[in-house]
Amino acid sequence: MSAHLQVSGLEVTVSGEHGERIRIVDDVNFEANKGEVLALIGESGSGKTTIALALMAYARRGCTISAGQIRIGDTSVLELSREQLFGFRGNRVSYVSQSAAAAFNPSKSIMDQVIETAMLHKLSSKSAARSKAIELFSSLALPNPETIGNHYPHQVSGGQLQRLMAAMALISDPDVVILDEPTTALDVTTQIEVLRAFKKVVRNRGTTAIYVSHDLSVVAQMADKIVVLKNGTVREAGETMQVLDAPSDEYTQALMAAAKPSLRVESLKKPDSETEAALLELRDVSAGFGRVDADGMPKFTILHDVNLTVERGTTLGIIGESGCGKSTLARTIAGLHPAAAGSICLDGVPLATHLSKRTRDQLRRVQIVFQNADTALNPAHTVEQVVGRPLVFYKGISADETHKRVAELLAQVKLPVDIATRRCAELSGGQKQRINLARALAAEPDIILCDEVTSALDTVVGAAILDLIAELRRELDVAFIFISHDISAVRSVCDDILVLYSGRTVEFGKRENFAAGPGHPYTDLLVSSVPELRQGWLEETSARTILRPVDNAVDVDEICAFVDRCPVRLDGICDTKRPPRLIHANGNEVLCHLPQAES
């Protein structure tokens, strides 16, 4: 008996600049049985989304499905007529896309969109479709399943939208569901909930699913089979267990290596003498935006009394989810977002809050590297102009010397010298991020602020950047502040770690203390939410209890900020009082009511 889903000889082309056809998917074959989850894994440009869309006989603008066969059940998908496709798409195969926020129509209610497929294909009455949707909402663990559909997309959170989209895909009981990076845009603590909900629904309904992802650890939880893709071709395919345990292809091995947490910094540097002032010290720094009140505090506070110290030559990791204020913290240190209160000292000397009041030498000593290398480099400039500018600006050295120094810096970030004459717009993402680092190094700074420098990069490229940072740390006497949402990246390069939640330092301490735990409940949640690269992890990790929401009338500044998500909260204490700052036995500072033993 043949498989439920069969893809053979699939080829997709795009038209090039001169009208020639370029193959972006080349001779791809795979198959999946009924009720199986098959993962398409690869980095950007691997063709995974293109293949997934081809399963619905859909190609994006400029792309053409030029050869191959796709069979789903008895249907030969690529031979369907235009008219037949209207009845096929959404009905037999449905799609869940990466960014639910963009894939929902902003001007229609959620319920209308969820049941649209059922209405289009006349699968059931409107009221039947509605009750089915509500049923799906509750099996996807969505809050208030009865009413959530009446909302508009912008009124619910990203994690909820992603699950609502899954409901939208399942409403028609399709033969195959395509899940295209459905959790990539989510925070890690939300991701685990969404994954759990997806897995339950897919298993219970016996749905055949195609799971598209770049993340091996996530795929390990979801998939029965894995197809590894690179540049539009299949590199390796097999059962999940076999691919993870014994990858035969070189590229798969590289992916695995990049995905495994590794320690990049062996020895922790210690300050030479106790008397020396810390290189960078923040005392009770607050920042925000909006109108400033009489006390000098802005209307919306993003950072609340942040304290931190960075010793010369060490690396501090700052971790937190999106919106926790970690980027604002970097911008505040750099003087781009002036602090409203508190002090920032460099080598014991207070820095002005706004960068225009800082001396040129102070500016030189603190450099910042931004997340998005595409926008951090001026596309109109050449690499030499970009890297050479700090040299000319701070040191005023001659053109000849600049040229020589730029070559040295490029070598330091492992780029060929001849790249110097290229325009920044022509470079790849990884190359751009190296140029970004080289520009910061050119100023010979004491500290470099790295804001999410690897998150826009593919896993393998990002791992190489982490290696580079670790190496620079060893070779140069420069300190780093490494800001990331990815705790394994932070753990692999940092000496100290600061956990930021809702603008507050909830835990601060040595790196090695974070592997063992327990610490602040949020840190524990964060650490335990990172998927491990093995099957069965998701099942072993206990599901979280759904918490009763906290009374909205309480001023959140007067209670624990984490209380509404805390699994171990003490009612009557955590939701009424501000938590104290405790020093745990391992030396970590923790902002929590709970004594260490209980957590």
């Binding site: 994006r60 798409r89 896309s97 963009a102 129509n105 001007s107 229609k108 497929t117 912008h154 009124q155």
Partner: protein, 315 residues
């Protein structure tokens, strides 16, 4: 929230209109010549000129004259025409309805036509239809109105003798006569306005058609018509109304040539007369009407955009 935004927007419009009045007044009273001297001609004695200056308030400092003029404008009395010696209000009162009629007819024809063309070419993007429409509309925009008007006259009045080359409307004209009279001016104005509006509508709709939620609708099996009308268009309303407002405001400028060519007694040809005869009070009033109309249309478009934004409507 919506009310607050709308109120704020209206306030800005008024403030801008105030600035416009300041600009218009400054330009027109920085006159090198002397209005009194000009009115009376070279033969007038200095005494008579001085008397008239007094009478016209020309001896007062600029800011006082501005305030007096502004007050008159706000109370609906923008002064006395220097040339015809009639109140500007009366002259404009006769002409304004005719201009509004022309603009209204043009809008009634052009808006549905432009939306149709715009949406069609967005739906069939890069097809042969779309590409030809692109070149046609692109050329239509670049053609001066007087070329369109002259060609229209040559074809319909001179060669075919279907239509009169001058628009004269008697009060007791039948519908057929009216249609014949307005055909050419409306056609000429539509020619340019439709092209502009259609292009902007196309861009606005395409912008929505490129969004992920449209791809999602395709993957649900929705048909193109449904996608364009039910999914994309509701989100394109803001930009499309903006396109309509901007294009219709072009009517204001385009009407100058068209009214002159067809000898149509509207505000625009009145303004051209005011320029040739340097009738400043009349000119100022006309300029304010045109600017006010522009601001009004842009204001309406902005308010529609605010009200049609789902993020503001459903909070």
């Amino acid at each position: 929230m919506i009310l607050l935004l709308v109120a704020k927007r209206i306030l800005i419009a008024f403030f801008t209109l105030l600035l416009v009045s300041l600009v218009v007044f400054s330009i027109t009273s920085l006159l090198p010549g002397d209005a009194a001297q000009e009115l009376l001609g070279q033969s007038a004695t200095p005494e008579i000129v001085a008397e008239l200056r007094e009478q016209l308030g020309l001896n007062q400092p600029g800011h006082i004259r501005y305030l007096v003029w502004l007050k008159g404008l706000l109370s609906g009395d923008p002064g006395i025409s220097m040339v015809s010696d009639m109140p500007v209000r009366d002259i404009i009162g006769q002409r304004l309805p005719k201009s509004l009629m022309l603009a209204g007819l043009t809008a009634a024809v052009s808006v549905p036509l432009a939306l149709l063309i715009g949406i069609l070419s967005a739906m069939y993007r890069d097809s042969r239809l779309d590409r030809s429409l692109n070149i046609v509309t692109l050329s239509m925009i670049a053609v001066p109105e007087f070329l369109v008007a002259t060609i229209a006259v040559i074809v319909f009045a001179v060669q075919l003798r279907w239509l009169p080359s001058i628009t004269i409307v008697s009060p007791d004209a039948t519908f057929g006569e009216l249609a014949r009279a307005f055909a050419m001016p409306v056609m000429t104005l539509c020619f340019v306005v439709v092209a502009q509006m259609a292009r902007m509508t196309r861009a606005a709709v395409i912008n929505q058609l490129d969004s992920p939620y449209v791809e999602m609708a395709i993957l649900k099996g929705a048909r193109p018509t449904r996608i364009a009308l039910r999914h994309a268009f509701p989100n394109a309303i803001g930009p499309v109304v903006n396109a309509i407002a901007l294009s219709l405001s072009y009517l204001l400028g385009g009407a100058i040539i068209v009214e002159t060519i067809f000898n149509y007694p509207g505000i625009a040809s009145l303004m051209v007369n005011a320029v040739t005869s340097r009738d400043m009070p009349l000119l100022q009033a006309c300029a304010m009407i045109f600017s006010g109309a522009y601001l009004m249309m842009v204001l309406v478009a902005d308010i529609v955009a605010i009200v049609s934004n789902p993020k503001l409507r459903h909070r």
